[in-house]
Amino acid sequence: MTTTASAGLDRRRAVAALLDLLPEALVVTGLGSPTYDVYAAGTRPTHFYLWGAMGGAVPVGLGLALAQPDRSVLVVTGDGEQLMGIGALASVAACAPANLTIVVLDNGHFGETGMQASHTSLGTDLVAVARGCGIIRTHTITELEQLGDLAAAVQERSATTYARVVVGTEQTLRALPPRDGVANKNSFRAALGLETF
């Protein structure tokens, strides 16, 4: 496969624009580029950055959303990470947490490992999968102007929301958040007024 840029939003601009609209959100990121994109937009103690545990971003977001029903919880992940934990969409739908939004930055490729085509380039429609799992409120974002409506849905906390953000395959500058999961967990909990344990 070639790595020429495909049509799609600039992922860094899209993530920064969305997070600018959601200063209060609790954010969980999926490993690889989404973790870097969220960090590049400006770090906050209410971000939890996954550097591994592939497939775990949505389940972590689910447990967090159930624990914090009065806060908007945002999972920001990529198509590859989402595909590995695709069944979690059914588990999310079964619980239907109104405060959980899943944002998938879909470039159709495994960006961290050499830009191999992922299933979303080869026929899988993540929005159709999410709807089939029972997540009815879905967005497909192809223009930055649509992010306002998505942010409004996140802040409403009235239904589980799934958003596929179509992004390009351009290379991005490295932006690496701290890899210390313990420190990240403790600062996240401290921001919610919680002790370490």
């Binding site: 545990a53 689910l62 447990g63 159930l66 934990g85 999961g181 313990v182 919610l192």
Partner: protein, 177 residues
């Protein structure tokens, strides 16, 4: 089918201990040995039951619950431990408190040979991934062991799996009545 009204006493003690330990989320892939606890979780207004498509989701759910200030537990059978292995990295990398209760298959009066390989590897897989294993073989020890595990997890921040032996759970009935 299991009927919560006639659940063995040890099954009742599983749920009672979890409730007393302040568990607010019960994530699970069903098992007959966990049927009572799942049913009680579903009926308890203070506890959220989270049905999973695969056990590794439960590792994430438990960690996410902790990030948000809630205590959670993962209920599964031994085959599910194998599904979790890489996801256990999350627990060690973030030093998340983690409690799982595992019903064993493949070790006593097992009818199904397909349960054997993972049943024999369950304790080793957990220990290789840094999780403390506590085994229970006697019904009378269930309550105290889960209580001790919950203290280690929620008061000391440890990662603990309680394995409930297949002899304790009882023979699975394969012939229809």
């Amino acid at each position: 089918m299991s009927n919560p009204a006639v659940a063995p006493a040890w099954q009742e003690s599983v749920f009672r201990v979890l409730k007393e330990a302040g568990v607010r989320q019960v994530a699970y892939v069903p098992d007959a040995g966990h049927a009572h606890a799942i049913s009680m979780a579903q009926d308890d207004p203070d506890i959220r039951d989270v049905v999973l498509t695969t056990e590794e989701e439960g590792v994430g759910v438990v960690a996410g619950a902790w990030l948000g200030g809630e205590r959670a537990v993962l209920l599964m059978q031994s085959s599910g431990v194998g599904n979790c292995v890489n996801m256990f990295s999350l627990l060690d990398s973030g030093r998340f408190p983690f409690l799982t209760i595992v019903t064993m298959r493949g070790e006593y009066a097992e009818f199904n040979p397909w349960q054997g390989p993972m049943g024999r590897a369950t304790q080793g897989a957990l220990e290789l991934m840094g999780i403390i294993v506590m085994r229970v073989e006697e019904p009378n020890d269930v309550e105290e062991t889960i209580n001790a595990a919950a203290d280690a997890v929620f008061l000391a921040g440890e990662r603990v799996a309680v394995l409930l032996g297949q002899k304790l759970i009882g023979r699975k009935k394969w012939e229809q009545d």
